[in-house]
């Protein structure tokens, strides 16, 4: 059988699905309800998110769900009948996830980049 990079993308899809399932609903409650309603001060949240541990968590919450999106949406488009641009779509979607990961790492891990 030909070697495939499918398992790597599936692992990222799976890890992203898990991170999203556990963390995103509560995160939306914080950013869309608790902060606008004044239950959490925006400046206080910014200070919390600035901590190193929080930065690592934030990086995981940005990168992995984007790989989850890339993988799932790629196959959803095939299900919807878009079948003749598989390679460009894969490059665009995984590229978006990879590019955003690099961008997030650059923003969130300054000690490594400076």
């Amino acid at each position: 059988m030909a070697r495939s990079n499918e398992p790597a993308f599936w692992s990222l899809f799976s890890a992203g699905g898990m991170v999203a399932a556990f963390l995103i609903p509560a995160a939306i409650l914080i950013t869309a309800y608790m902060v606008p309603q004044g239950k959490i001060d925006a400046e206080q949240l910014r200070i919390v998110m600035d901590h190193f541990i929080a930065r690592l968590l934030l990086l995981a919450m940005i990168s992995l769900p984007l790989f989850h999106w890339a993988h799932r949406f790629r196959f959803a488009l095939v299900d919807l009948g878009i079948k003749n641009a598989k390679l460009p779509i894969a490059i665009l979607f995984y590229g978006t996830a990879a590019g955003s990961t690099i961008c997030a790492a650059y923003l969130l891990l300054p000690p490594i980049f400076s």
């Binding site: 400046e43 769900p65 989850h68 299900d79």
Partner: protein, 138 residues
């Protein structure tokens, strides 16, 4: 080419039927499947929103402005039910992916899914507690 029973099998026969573009509207189960797959747009969209917040971590005013943006709040309120739908469908599938054997018996699926639901509750409470309590003591 012959198979195990000795009959000749045809190779590469084209038997692909064209699917109508709206096949997923034909049955409630197909529609639920398509909604589940489309939750990824909201999961990915929220990750992009977090990236925008990350870009404003050292700009207090811009950070607060983004969180106060009516458009951002509206989009997140649309994303919330989709994110919850993702969580529920994801945890409901965990018994299919994670099979735990105890001696001769499989651990029942509801226990595996149930453990994930309990974890979801604990992690959500922890994240909210972290967001509420942090900043004051550190």
């Amino acid at each position: 080419m012959t198979n195990r029973t000795g009959n000749t099998t045809t190779t590469e026969r084209q038997l692909i039927r064209k699917m109508p573009a709206n096949w997923w509207l034909k049955k409630p189960a197909y529609l639920r499947y398509m909604i589940r797959e489309m939750t990824c747009l909201f999961v990915g969209g929220y990750a992009m929103f977090l990236l925008m917040l990350a870009a404003r971590l050292d700009k207090p005013e811009a950070f607060a402005d983004l969180l106060a943006s009516p458009l951002a709040i509206a989009l997140q309120w649309i994303a919330l039910p989709m994110a919850i739908y993702h969580s529920v469908t994801w945890f409901n599938l965990t018994p299919k992916v994670l099979v735990i054997w105890r001696g001769e018996d499989k651990l029942p699926g509801f226990l595996i899914a149930g453990a994930h639901y309990a974890g979801w509750l604990a992690v959500s409470a922890g994240l909210i507690y972290f967001a509420m309590s942090g900043g004051t003591d550190g």
